[in-house]
Subunit: 369 residues, 2 copies
């Protein structure tokens, strides 16, 4: 069922306009997936996420495994029904979350031994378990189990880690029982181009429905992220979708699109919103600033979202200072609306020509991010 | 501009079907006003509040005075525009909040001296100031400044307090500069029927657009609340709207309607929702209970709200246990939907006959609350 088609290649850059077909509908690419870590895009209803133009969200398999349990979700009819999101869903395998959330984490040949961040209970995440969880959830795009080493790591450690991630990827593919959904391999290798190449070639040798770039945006600067992304993509089959995990700022997204990335996810728009930092066509805006106390304008006069259509900066600042729950939602709605529009603009500019112009506008210093 | 018309008297009870006309539209009564203390019905957008059938909300003048400041709101075009709620707004004067939120509170003849619960700064709330604040906000129904003594208070203290509240009410009326909106007097007197009568007669002598019953539901039991409400209403002009402040549970509302109350507000539906306690046609439901972990049914199979139409108890419990923001909103939406339907049912049953049947169903033990 899973199929990726490239509708158009940009002339001046490596950008591609594509479409992913899944059992739960299509996703026009380049696409941004709002992050629904615990099966909810924080503060937004599924209806709102859909209304902003997003066609796929990403949920965390590690979180679903620990709470409420993938078997529970399976019994209840799968993740789409559980979270009332009938469109495509991607899951991250949990390698990164085990790294960031578990106090004790041991990487062994058979898998990752870790303690639950919820109750301290011990668990082993093996490649087979990782696939079992994601198949129980019934998602459209699954990720292989990977080791995501911290930044910085030595080339020696990273080389071993790449080997392990590749062996796990093979086991994941062999463990796959359902084939109407996709399984993506995750390219690791840190900031070392030769190890990225080794990882990419190892995974390509096994053969996956798509390839993710993991372990980026966790310490290195933006320029290095772009550099590694570009050099790695050269070693991946061009006809398969590429997903740059956890990236990023609007400028980074545009630049990665120009390198040929098709899929993105990032907590920046949602997390920044909850911290009161907003993306606007005139640059960033921090809503708690005293200068907005009597400002009757919207967050962004070029934005058509519900928040900008109905509420002033003064009111939003008041809600923020008063710790009113509603503000989390109104600001998240705005930031995701900004990202939704960014992705629409990117797709339209590739379709019509003119992506380079958009790229220069978005990535330029003093620009939108 | 403000006008109250009684469309129909119930035959078996004191219930009345009415309509309040204001500069910002009409309100069909008996009506429940969702509480928007800080100019936001917690977790809901104005569009949602409206979609649930509510025509008026209540905001707290004390909170608006302290933050963001009534003058700021006036500059920004008034409270309706500020909070993007174009329909009628009532404000409470702040007497009750000064009682419950200020650490030091001194009641003097000229007003209430208190410290801000936000920054400890000193303030004096006089009758004149109270009207100035509410007129700056531009609301449709204003409240007089009242003293709301704690429960229990001695009859001696309460008698003095009623005298003061009546003198303040007179000063409030004299301070009123705008007359397109309404000013309600607040009947106090605690649980002493003779003092309630004294208060009601004092205020009626001055003459207000409507009368509120304050100082109830703060300690006495439900039966006493109803008793005091009924006996007090007998001393108020029947042609004026009556507002029972801060009450209450569905059964208490129905009973107060039968006594002739027209307006209500209460934090119960919204606060209970945030604590995970839900009103259903089968009784209360506590969403965090383990028994709902794999329950695929909606909160209430007789409810047509967005939450019940889209999400299972299992999913809502998961969001609640995971502390996901979305759940506050989904549960609030459900509880306010329940209250919205309750009020619609009450109005329709008065209109068509049959209110007594509804009353018995709602107030009966093991009934809806």
């Amino acid at each position: 069922m899973f199929r990726f088609e490239i509708l158009k290649h940009d002339t001046g850059t490596g950008a591609r306009l594509g479409r992913i077909h899944t059992a739960h509908g299509t996703v026009d690419t380049p696409a941004f997936m709002p992050v629904a870590t615990q099966a909810s895009v924080k503060a937004l209803s599924p209806a709102e996420v859909e209304s902003l133009g997003f066609e796929m969200v990403i949920v965390n398999a590690y979180h679903m495994y620990l709470r409420p349990g993938h078997k529970t979700i399976e019994k209840l009819g799968g993740l789409h029904k559980f979270m009332s999101w009938p469109r495509p869903i991607t899951t991250d395998s949990g390698g990164f979350q085990v790294l960031s959330l578990s106090k004790t984490r041991k990487v062994k040949e058979e898998g990752i031994v870790f303690q639950s961040h919820l109750d301290g209970s011990s668990h082993v995440l093996t490649p087979e378990k990782c696939i079992e969880i994601q198949e129980s959830l019934g998602v459209d795009i699954m990720m292989c189990l990977d080791e995501c080493p911290p930044y910085p790591s030595t080339p020696e450690y990273m080389k071993k880690s790449v080997g392990l991630t590749t062996r796990w990827a093979k086991l994941c593919k062999e463990a796959q029982k359902k084939h109407d959904n996709a399984l993506f391999g995750i390219v690791q290798g840190g900031v070392f181009p030769d190890l990225r190449r080794e990882s990419a070639e190892g995974l390509t040798g096994i053969g996956f429905d798509g390839y993710s770039l993991g372990g980026l945006g966790i310490g290195e600067d933006s320029a290095r992220t772009c550099e590694i992304t570009e050099s790695t993509l050269a070693h991946l089959p061009p006809e398969k979708p590429r997903y740059l995990m956890g990236i990023g700022k609007p400028g980074d997204i545009a630049q990665a699109v120009s390198a040929g990335v098709d899929l993105f996810d990032c907590v920046i728009p949602t997390r920044n919103a909850r911290n009161g930092t907003l993306f606007t066509s005139h640059g960033k805006l921090v809503i708690k600033n005293a200068r907005y106390a009597e400002d009757e304008g919207p967050i962004d006069d070029n934005c058509g979202c519900y928040t900008c259509g109905n509420f002033s900066r003064a009111y939003l600042r008041h809600l923020y200072m008063s710790k009113e729950i509603l503000v989390l939602r109104l600001l998240t709605l705005h930031n995701l609306s900004y990202y939704g529009k960014l992705m629409t603009d990117i797709r339209e500019s590739i379709a019509r020509g003119g992506f380079s112009v958009l790229l220069n506008r978005v990535k330029s210093p003093g620009g939108k991010d």
